[in-house]
C-alpha cells in the first residue's frame, strides 16, 4: 500500500479516532463491488466494526477527456462531453457549450434556452431517480425491498428516456447541444407526451415518499448518519444537494442564473440536519421542483430558431476567438464547471472539467470515520458520485 497517497492528519477537522491498543484491520472496498456507484476504491481502516480511516483511490475510469478535447473541434466535443456525467449527460454538454459561447460572445436564441432548461431539468429528474434506486438497492440489497424501489425508479426513468429518445434519438448519451443552441427541435406530439409523463412521474414520486418517507427501517439506516456540518460543507468545497442538505442556501440556478433560469419560479430546498436523511429530503423536493420547471418551460416555450449558428455552420469548424471562461452549471450532483481557453482556432487550447462528484468525494474522510461498516454504503449513496465525472 505504499503507493497509495494517504491524506495527512494535519488538518484539525479530520476525524482521527484513537482507540487504545486494539488491532486495526485494513479492508479494501475494491473498485468492483456491488455497491453500484462505478469504480471506486476505498481503503477502510477498521477497529472492530467501526471505520476509523478512509482513503479514497480514484482514477479507474480516467479517459483523458481534457486532452481529448484539445484534439476535437467545438462541434465534435459535445457528443463526447456526455460521457463524463453519463447519468445526466446533458449537463456536461451544457457546461462546455456555454463556455464556448461565452468566449465567442455567441447569442443563444430564446427557444433554445428554454429547450436547454427543459432538458436539463428532465435530466435532473432522471438522475435523481437513478440515485434513489441505487441508494435503496445498496441499503436494501439486490434481493429485497431495495430492489423493489430500484425497479420502480428505473421504470419511471425509462419514461423520461423514452421522451429523450423521441426528441434526440438516443437514450443515454445525447449530443443534443451545439455551440449556439441545440441540435433538435421538438417533434409533433412531444409536448403532450411530455406533459403526461411529467404528471405520471409526479404521482409516482408521491408513492416513493409513501414507501420511504417515515419508514422506520429506512430512517433507522439513514438518520443521523453521515453528518456534514455547515462549516465543513462550506470549507471543503462540496456542492449541490450535499451543500443544501447542510443548511447552505446556494444553488447556481439562483445565485448565478444562466440560460433564462430567472424566468422560472421554483423553490430551492434547504435542510439543516446535514445527515443522509436531510440530503434525501432535499433531493425529493428537487424532483418536484424540476417537474414544475419543466411544466413552466412547456407552457412558455417561445417560437424561434433553435440555434444561432444553424445549418452547416453548426458542424463546420467554429473558430472561437482568443479568450478564456469558466462556466458553472447546477448539475444533478452539484456544480459542474468547464474552464475553457480558446486561442482563435477551431479547437480549444485547454479545457478543464470541474467535476461535481470529484469535489464531493473530498468530504468522505471527514464524515465516514466513526460509523459502522454498513453505514459506509449509506453515506456513499447519499453523496451520489458518478465516476465519469470524478475520473474524466
Amino acid at each position: 500500500m505504499s503507493t497509495v497517497a494517504t491524506t495527512t492528519s494535519q488538518d484539525p477537522r479530520r476525524v482521527d479516532l484513537d482507540y487504545a491498543g486494539s488491532e486495526r484491520l485494513t479492508m479494501n472496498m475494491g473498485p468492483q463491488h456491488p455497491s453500484a456507484h462505478g469504480v471506486f476504491r476505498a481503503i477502510l481502516t477498521l477497529e472492530g466494526e467501526t471505520v476509523v480511516g478512509v482513503d479514497a483511490v480514484i482514477g479507474y475510469l480516467h479517459r483523458c477527456h481534457e486532452k481529448l478535447s484539445e484534439t476535437l473541434t467545438y462541434a465534435q466535443y459535445p457528443s463526447i462531453a456526455s460521457k463524463t456525467d453519463y447519468v445526466a449527460a446533458m449537463t456536461s454538454e451544457f457546461a462546455y457549450v456555454r463556455a464556448a459561447e461565452q468566449i465567442g460572445r455567441i447569442e443563444v436564441p430564446k427557444r433554445a434556452q428554454y429547450l436547454r432548461v427543459m432538458t436539463s431539468e428532465l435530466q435532473r429528474v432522471a438522475s435523481h431517480l437513478l440515485w434513489l434506486g441505487t441508494w435503496c438497492l445498496d441499503l436494501g440489497g439486490a434481493l429485497g425491498g431495495g430492489a423493489t424501489i430500484f425497479l420502480y425508479c428505473i421504470r419511471e426513468r425509462e419514461l423520461i428516456l423514452d421522451l429523450f429518445e423521441s426528441l434526440v434519438g438516443a437514450r443515454l448519451l445525447y449530443g443534443f447541444y451545439q455551440v449556439g443552441g441545440v441540435r433538435y427541435d421538438v417533434p409533433p406530439g412531444w409536448v403532450k407526451t411530455c406533459r403526461e409523463t411529467v404528471d405520471l412521474i409526479d404521482s409516482r414520486i408521491s408513492e416513493y415518499e409513501q414507501m420511504l418517507g417515515d419508514n422506520p427501517f429506512f430512517m433507522a439506516r439513514v438518520q443521523g448518519v453521515g453528518y456534514i456540518s455547515r462549516e465543513l460543507a462550506e470549507d471543503v468545497g462540496i456542492s449541490g444537494p450535499l451543500l443544501r442538505g447542510s443548511g447552505v442556501n446556494f444553488d447556481l440556478r439562483r445565485a448565478d442564473p444562466y440560460s433564462s433560469y430567472e424566468d422560472f419560479q421554483f423553490v430551492v430546498p434547504v435542510e439543516t440536519a446535514g445527515d443522509c436523511f436531510a440530503r434525501y429530503r432535499v433531493r425529493m423536493v428537487e424532483f418536484r421542483e424540476s417537474l414544475k420547471i419543466v411544466r413552466q418551460a412547456l407552457d412558455g416555450l417561445p417560437e424561434g430558431p433553435i440555434s444561432s449558428r444553424p445549418g452547416l455552420k453548426s458542424v463546420a469548424q467554429t473558430r472561437i476567438p482568443k479568450g478564456e471562461a469558466y462556466v458553472r452549471i447546477e448539475g444533478a450532483r452539484g456544480e459542474v464547471g468547464c474552464y475553457l481557453i480558446a486561442d482563435g482556432s477551431a479547437k480549444p487550447y485547454r479545457m478543464k472539467w470541474r467535476g461535481a462528484s470529484f469535489s464531493n468525494l473530498a468530504v468522505l474522510p471527514y464524515i465516514i470515520p466513526g460509523h459502522k461498516v454498513a453505514d459506509v454504503v449509506a453515506i456513499m449513496g447519499s453523496v451520489d458520485p458518478v465516476f465519469g465525472e470524478v475520473d474524466r
Binding site: 479492508m27 472496498m29 463491488h33 456491488p34 455497491s35 435503496c136 445498496d138 441499503l139 436494501g140 440489497g141 434481493l143 429485497g144 425491498g145 431495495g146 430492489a147 423493489t148 424501489i149 425497479l151 420502480y152 421504470r155 414507501m211 419508514n215 427501517f217 429506512f218 433507522a220 439506516r221 459502522k372 461498516v373 454498513a374 453505514d375 459506509v376 454504503v377
Partner: protein, 330 residues
Amino acid sequence: MIAAIPAWVLLVVAPFIVLNAVIGIVTYVTLLERKFAARMQSRIGPYRVGPHGILQPIADAVKLMMKEDVVPTAADKPVYNLAPIVFLLPCMFIFATIPFAPGLGVADLNIGILFFLAVSAMEIVGLFMAGWGSNNKYALLSAMRAVNQVISYDLPFIFASLVPVLLAGSLQLGDIAAAQSGLWFIFYPVIGQLAFIAFIASTVAAENRAPFDILEAESELVAGFRVEYSGMKFALIQLGEYAHVLGSSFLGALLFLGAWAGPGPEWLGPVWFLIKAMFVFLLVTWVRWSFVRIRVDQILALSWKALLPATLILLLATAFVVVWRTNGGV
C-alpha cells in the same frame, strides 16, 4: 380409512412421502416467490424456461448439480462438508410433527410444538459449522452474528407460538388445529392479531430474511456465512433455508389460520392447509420485498428491547384471558 392401515407401513411410508412432498413444494415455492416478487416490481418473473417459467426450479437444480464443487484448501474438511447436512436436517425434521389432516401426519406428538421449536433452533449448529469450516474471517464473523440473531428472535417466536397453545390448552398440534373449529385463533379479538403479527415478525427475523437479512447482504462489503459453498452444497443450504420458511408458514397456518378447516369435503382439508400456508409464505415474502434492511445492532435492539417484552406481556395477557373465560367469563 387412515386408521385401517397398519402402523409400520405408516411409519415407513409417511415420512418418505412427506419428505418428497416437502422438497417438491420447496423448489416450487422459490418459483412462486420469484413470480410474486416480480409482479410487485412491475415485471414478470421467470418466463422462458417452460411455459411461464414452470421448469425454472428444475433448471436451477440441474445447474447447481452440475457446478464445480470448490472447496477451500485450508477449510476444516469434516466440518465444512457436514455443515450443509447439519443445517438441512432440522429444517426437514420440523415437518414431522405437522399434521396435514386429522390423523394424517408423520408423528403427531403430544409435545408437537415443543419439538418443532426445539428442532428448528438446532439449525444454528449447522450455520455455525458452515461459518467455521469455511476458514474465512468474514464468514465466521457473519455466522456468529447470524447465530446471535437467530437466538435473539427464537424467544419471541416461542412466546408468540405459545399464545395459541394457551388458547387451545394443548401442545399437540392436532389438538390446536381441532380447537379452531369454532373460530380461528387469528380472529380472536386483539390477542389473536397481535400474536400473529409477532409470529410473522419473529419468523422473518429468525430465518434471516429481509428486512433482517444483513447477514446475507454482507456481500455488499464482506461475505456471508455461505460464501465458500458452491454447487450442490449451496443448494442444500438454500433448500434448508426455504424449508425452514415453509415449515414456519405451515406452523403459522396451523396455529392461527385453522389448518385444514375450510368449506368443502373433508379430503379437501390438506389443500386448504396448503393454501393457507402459501398465504403466510406470501405475507413473509411481501414483507421481504417491501423494506430496506436495518443494521445488525438495530436488529438485536429491536428483538431484546421491543419484541421480547411485547410477546411476554402478550402471553401474560392471554393467560389472564384464558383463566377468566374458563372461570365463567364470556
